[in-house]
């Protein structure tokens, strides 16, 4: 592996601060909401950039940024990063206690983790305290913890050690080998630890007006008591002192209940940001974000190119698409004369379908290439975008090691950096990734997905397989919406949906299906629609570039496809595909 691969897609926690600063794109992903004092839930599956967004807004990275840009230290808002996917959060000894004591000990650990985050963050603020303030902070901390601290360290470093000691004490009590008891008496809570700590910090001259943003990452890993406690704090609507920015995988699978039995409400208590973005064409936000993100990574790697130039479309395909467009345009002009709007609409709908329809039956898979294709294949998830790019880059580097290309740029270290990823390599990697995704669905789902039975794995595969068959038929034969590759579910009944939802949940958890909400045809209502991971389509000869349409499929037909492997009914002129409100907004 080349360590300079600009498309490295490791988790944000494994990236150095400098790299986060280099790679993070603020635009087109709502991340500026984080700067507000509102509570924000960042919702999305793995790899959509939640952790990166939180880390970018944490104080150490913002400090780094200020230094780079010769700006003042940003002390109006201090982002405190609190990871939840830790062994401490995964501990389960609380399950051996009654509900009350379980909630007390769970909140204790969570409050300590937040307090540790505050102390660690403040320990990184240079020259924070005057000597008088330092004395006050020392004595207040000692009072809070009822402990004396050796004043050999700076106060917030000592506070970190004190918190760690408290945390270890509670764990030792729970794991005591001489007793089956797992409870620890001297617990803290958010009101008894975090609020006094923040008030103490605000009593210092430099932080008088500071707002603390708690950046809670992977909140889905919190236990039920900790989640309830968190949502109770979120329900507290006075936000001058603190707010929560919470990254969570899927809100629908986690209850939003608070400890008092209520529930937090979107709009009132928090703002929700969906990190998996629905629209992927050039004009859409995700298209812009993808462009900026790849551009930035190329720049940082020392490659002077644009995303479209670096990932060129195969010239053969471009030529074939040009010819397809000519032929389709002639058809449109013959049909609609000088009505340029309808002609454009017709060309948009049928150009790519014409290309796929007129390929010889014996031809290989089309050459899947071009930056736009990669963006569509990502289905709106950043990691899905970076992963094939990473493999392509690595393949080009490997090839150049055995057969150096004259067009590559020689680094001082002797490593060659490519000027582009040739279309044939793009296509090879895309097809290989697509094939391997199908192999995983067919053979491994029940072995690698929590709670996925063999039966549900079989159903999940059969449902996707039959959807691929349906979309293929539509691409080749459908009269009005040939490239539709998302769907809605009609004729939903409780009995069918109870079964079908299990399969859908499996596919969603496996990131093989994304659920989105859009305008329905009826009276401006909203409805859920479903977008299969587009990386599935190249192996089936489909076009990952979708169109602004959703296929309406009856719930019983989807269930029959999943359960009995029955083909989903297809009509070449159905009215089921429904338009999105605006032509260029979708997919």
């Amino acid at each position: 592996m080349n360590s300079r691969n600009p498309f490295d897609y490791v988790g944000a926690n494994d990236l150095p601060g400098e790299t986060i600063l280099d790679y993070y794109i603020e635009d087109f992903n709502f991340s500026r909401f984080i700067h507000s004092t509102r509570n924000v839930l960042l919702v999305g599956e793995r790899g959509c950039g939640k952790s990166m967004t939180l880390l970018y807004n944490s104080f150490p990275i913002q400090h780094l940024r200020a230094e780079r840009e010769n700006q003042e230290l940003p002390l109006d808002t201090i982002g405190v990063y609190v990871p939840c996917n830790t062994p401490l959060t995964h501990k389960r000894e609380f399950q051996l206690l009654d509900d009350f004591r379980a909630s007390v000990i769970s909140e204790h650990h969570f409050a300590l983790a937040i307090a540790y985050g505050v102390a660690k963050t403040l320990s990184e603020v240079p020259n924070l305290l005057t000597s008088a303030e330092e004395d006050n902070v020392w004595s207040q901390i000692e009072f809070l913890f009822d402990a004396e601290m050796p004043r050999t360290e700076r106060p917030f470093i000592a506070l970190m050690q004190l918190i760690e000691r408290e945390c270890i004490k509670a764990q030792r009590a729970a794991n005591a080998r001489s007793s089956t008891n797992v409870f620890y008496e001297n617990t803290f809570s958010f009101p008894s630890l975090i609020v006094p700590l923040l008030r103490l910090v605000r009593s210092t001259s430099r932080l008088t007006n500071t707002h603390f943003a708690f950046l809670i990452d992977d909140a889905h890993d919190l236990n039920e008591h900790q989640r309830r406690a968190l949502f109770s704090w979120i329900a507290f609507r006075e936000h001058s002192l603190f707010s929560f920015k919470v990254a969570i995988a899927n809100v629908s699978r986690s209850s939003l209940a608070t400890a008092s039995g209520g529930s937090i409400l979107e709009g009132h208590d928090y703002t929700r940001i969906d990190m998996v973005q629905p629209f992927h064409n050039d004009e859409a936000d995700f298209g812009h974000l993808a462009h900026l993100l790849v551009m930035r990574r190329l720049e940082k790697c020392g490659i002077d190119s644009t995303p479209h130039a670096f990932f060129p479309v195969s010239s053969q395909m471009l030529e074939q698409l040009r010819r397809a467009e000519e032929e389709v345009r002639s058809e449109a002009v013959a049909k609609y004369g000088s009505d340029s709007g309808r002609v454009s609409d017709y060309v948009y709908k049928y150009k790519r379908a014409h290309f796929f329809r007129n390929r010889p039956a014996t031809a290989n898979r089309p050459e899947y290439s071009g930056f736009d294709t990669l963006v569509y294949l990502s289905t709106g998830v950043i990691r899905n975008l970076l992963m094939p790019c990473y493999w392509m880059f690595d393949k080009v580097i490997s090839h150049s090691a055995i057969d150096p290309e004259p067009g590559t740029h020689e680094e001082p270290t002797g490593t060659s950096l490519p000027n582009e990823i040739p279309p044939n390599i793009q296509s090879e990697v895309i097809l290989a990734r697509s094939r391997s995704l199908w192999d995983w669905v067919r053979n491994e789902l029940d072995k690698s997905l929590e709670g996925c039975s063999r039966e549900n794995a079989r159903r999940a595969y059969q449902l996707l397989d039959n959807l691929a068959v349906l979309f293929r038929e539509r691409l080749l034969k459908h009269k009005s919406e040939p490239r539709a590759n998302s769907f809605t579910i009609s004729q939903q009944s409780d009995s069918v949906m109870a079964n079908l939802n299990q399969v859908i949940d499996t596919l969603v958890a496996a990131q093989l299906l994304y659920v989105r909400s859009g305008a329905a045809k009826d009276k401006g209502k909203r409805e859920n629609y479903y977008v299969p991971n587009r990386m599935l389509w190249p192996d089936r000869g489909l076009d990952p570039h979708g169109q602004h349409a959703r296929v309406s499929i009856r719930a019983p037909d989807l269930w029959a496809a999943a359960e009995q492997n029955r083909p989903i009914p297809f009509k070449d002129d159905d009215e089921a595909a429904s338009k999105q409100p605006r032509l260029f907004d979708e997919i």
């Binding site: 995964h90 051996l96 970190m160 794991n175 491994e444 690698s448 709670g451 039975s453």
Partner: protein, 296 residues
């Protein structure tokens, strides 16, 4: 094995080695009591073999008792089954734990309770005559083991140590769940299973491009069940990381991880449960391996 051992603790299974193993043990040693646990989810599958062991106990004058392992409620298993049987054993008694068909989580909890009661703990492991193609599917969420979850430091990153079995996806599942900064993947050196080297090669190559995964070799069938190799692999990691350890390879490796946990309370034990098992996983019974926990 000690000759004065008097309590046998086992988990009922549909595998032939459960019944054949009990027969073998009852014929070679005198037991006063047999405690047989069984999973409520697979009670039907184990009913016949449990009845047969119970009959053997009756014939030999061994006190027989059984207890339910609640698959969907591990805290109930701890409280109502393990604590109320093992937690009430007379201090200092001699106990033999049959690891052969016992889930690793129950092995660790059984060891914990026996040492809590200051018992002298021996263990036996019956190898099967033949292995089938696969053991389990449908993984559930990995879980840290009660009382053995380790002592975590708040600011430290996670390191995951996995003694790998034959299933690459299960290892990947653990890595994906805990997102460790470092994963130490222990590969089994030798095995009676002919496909071992091929499967270990598959594990090795599945993670070869992952810079966060370090591989090392271990032999669970050696006298220390690979403990020294694991200790060496952990040496530079454990002072700086929150280490959690999973045994997915040979069952005896669970013993070495337990011992390491007892030596160092910071090291946590994690168990990856499964919801579906292969009824044909093994057949017959092979060699029996004996050992005892040193620090009881």
């Amino acid at each position: 094995m000690r000759s004065d051992a008097d309590i046998l603790i086992s988990v009922a299974s549909w595998e032939e080695r459960f019944l054949l193993g009990c027969q073998r043990l009852f014929e070679s040693h005198a037991y006063s009591r047999a405690i047989v646990y069984y999973s409520d989810e697979y009670a039907d599958w184990t009913q016949a073999s449990r009845a047969s062991v119970q009959a053997q106990c009756r014939d030999k004058g061994i006190q027989y008792e059984d207890g339910v392992l609640y698959a969907a409620d591990t805290s109930r298993t701890w409280r109502e089954t393990l604590d109320s049987s093992l937690g009430q054993l007379p201090e200092g008694c001699n106990a033999v734990v049959d690891l052969s068909t016992m889930p690793r989580e129950i092995i660790w909890q059984t060891f914990w309770f026996l040492q809590y009661r200051k018992c002298n703990v021996s263990y036996v492991y019956h190898r099967p005559g033949k292995y089938g193609e696969w053991l389990s599917r449908d993984p559930d969420r990995p879980r840290l083991v009660y009382k053995m979850s380790g002592i975590s430091r708040i600011g430290a990153r996670t390191a995951l140590l996995v003694l790998a079995g034959y299933d690459v996806d299960r290892v990947r599942h653990l890595v994906d769940t805990f997102e460790p900064e470092i994963a130490l993947l222990g590969l089994q050196k030798d095995s009676v299973a002919p496909e071992n080297s091929e499967r270990m090669e598959a594990q090795s190559s599945a993670f070869k491009d992952d810079r966060s995964v370090q591989r090392f070799w271990v032999d669970a069938y050696s006298s220390d069940h690979g403990m020294e190799a694991v200790e060496t692999a952990l040496a530079s990691i454990s002072p700086t990381h929150n280490v959690i350890m999973a045994s997915m390879g040979p069952k005896l490796s669970a013993v070495s991880l337990y011992r390491l946990h007892r030596q160092n309370e910071n090291l946590g034990l994690v168990y990856l449960p499964a919801r579906e098992f292969n009824r044909e996983y093994s057949s017959g019974i092979g060699e029996t391996i004996y050992g005892s926990l040193d620090d009881s």
